[in-house]
Amino acid sequence: MKKKNRKYVLILLLILIPAAFFISINAGFTDYGITDILRILAGKGDGKENIVVLQFRMPRILLALLIGAGFALSGCIIQGITRNPLADPGILGINAGAGIMVLLYVVLHGAVSFGSVFGLPFLSLIGALVTGTIIYALSTQKTKGVSSMRLVLNGVAIQAGINAVMTMVIMKLDDSQHEFLAKWQAGSIWNANWKFVAALLPWIVIGITYLILRSRHLDILTMGDDISFGLGVTVVREKYRLLFTAVALAAACVAVSGSISFVGLMAPHLSRKLVGSGHRLLIPVCALTGGLLVLIADTVARTVIEPSEIPTGIVVSLLGAPYFVFLLLKERKKTVNS
């Protein structure tokens, strides 16, 4: 896209998100008109309306936006730093590591009794950091430093291992826990309420703010270590800080929604196509694109087979897979032509 048109992308997203918000808040078993929705949002709804719109749908929509933003930003940083356009938090084993901690918590405390919603993101952060460190250490060769290829291979292997363990644990559980965790593992915005919004919000806000402040560093790290050293970036320290941010964002999201993996891959990719690779614009656009994608996916997930629902992660994958096939075909065409 032409450089001067790039800022319109941001404006377009800021129009599309409220539009998706209204469609989503209106979608569901009970159908309200737009005027009713506005009335309820203004605080003039009756008891039932308030419960459906303000207690069920609103927090779920906000969570979808936050989760989308979190996974998208996490993917954006990891893609930039590893210089691998196909990387995402799932690939570094972050989602799996975070997931197993959440799973252990559920097993030990029971599925529904989530008392400490606010502590859960910290717990999953520990899990994510441990697996992340193991994968990073396994991928570091003494002479050559960290190899992107080994990072991906080790990540996929460890992730598969953890997922297998998780599935085994889930099989041993009773039916209600089993059903809940199976859904969570596929990525679903479960049990959405305001508490979860409040638990996730600070992580995302701090993450975005930090990343926008660091956008210049991110720009330069994208060009590789040698160029970054030459321009005076303290490469190792900066990478650790940014990767930690990526891990924290993904871990917090996993605690709330399970692993919704395609967003971290798709949103940054799409955003780069739209606004280029300058991170000052890319970071906000990426967060909004991710949020919008998950919001759309979640709206589809909870309406398409009413009154039951499909896990959001599966809808995201259904949208994401064709997109990537399309991308690969386009790449192939480009190489054939040139």
Partner: protein
């Protein structure tokens, strides 16, 4: 304060593999210095240690009398720019954006470009003959243009020293000359000290004020092109028997033809292999 780059007994290694052992050398300021040597002789490694991309195990590197590893990395980036071999920019990055990254060491906080930054960026773009291409994506440029964008980025760093690792690799002959003539201009007009690794001996001789020949992590010979580009040095450095003549245009020594010293040995190897 002593101007210039000087190394004192430096040792550089990748893990256990020692590439450079006990190297002490001075690089003259305000001149173009070219480094030549066979593959794996440590010439790129040497450049990387000067640009502190690779740490040294022992010894000291001084820039204008200051030890570079004691300087904050941003301060060093204001004095010394380094372009690695075949650098790659992300897709869609425009010429102006890439060149403006050269201002990074000077920026604070959010890093908005000041008026001064913008002036220097447009000067660097003009000096490298890229005017009119500011909004082009670097990925759409020719190889020679792209290399000039990287040089413009280094220029925007406003350093007295620019290190380049094989700036002409993968370029056609005309583009190779174009890049080297640009660097020569920068040296003559702006007084930049240029230190570069070059693969092509004749180009290295043609554009250098000072030459350094490396072999196995050691300096075999350093001096004027006349002192380095001769039969004896090339024999020791590359194990070749070179025919040296004088370039009618530049009056510099060039290698017209060469053959392997141990040709017979190679032949017998082939026979054995077959």
């Amino acid at each position: 304060m002593k101007k210039g780059i000087r190394t004192e007994n430096i040792k550089a290694a990748y893990g256990e593999k020692v590439i450079i052992e006990e190297l002490s050398i001075s690089i003259p300021m305000g001149q173009i210095t070219t480094i030549i040597g066979p593959n794996g002789c440590g010439k790129s490694t040497f450049l990387k240690t000067l640009g502190r991309i690779l740490g040294i195990k022992k010894g000291y590197i001084y820039l204008d009398g200051e030890e570079i590893h004691r300087l904050p990395t941003r301060e060093l980036a204001k004095k010394l720019a380094i372009l690695p071999q075949a650098p790659q920019a992300p897709d869609g990055l425009t010429v102006e954006e890439l060149v403006s990254y050269g201002r990074f060491p000077y920026q604070k906080g959010l890093g908005r470009l000041t008026g001064e930054d913008k002036e220097i960026v447009s000067w660097a773009i003009e000096a490298t003959g890229l005017k009119g291409l500011e909004e082009q994506a670097t990925s759409d440029l020719s190889g020679g243009q792209r290399q000039r964008v990287w040089i413009a980025m280094a220029l925007a760093q406003e350093t007295e020293v620019i290190l380049l690792d094989e700036p002409t690799t993968y370029l056609d002959m005309a583009y190779q000359l174009e890049i080297l003539e640009l660097l020569e201009d920068l040296n003559k007009v702006h007084g930049c000290t240029i230190l570069m690794v070059l693969h092509d001996l004749n180009l290295a001789s043609k554009f250098a004020d000072h030459m350094i020949a490396f072999r196995e992590g050691r300096v075999i010979k350093a001096g004027t092109p006349g002192e380095v580009m001769n039969k004896e040095t090339l024999k020791e450095v590359f194990q070749i028997d070179a025919a040296i003549v004088t370039d009618p245009v530049s009056a510099r020594p060039i290698c017209m033809s060469y053959q392997l010293l141990n040709k017979e040995k190679n032949r017998s190897k082939v026979k054995k292999g077959a």
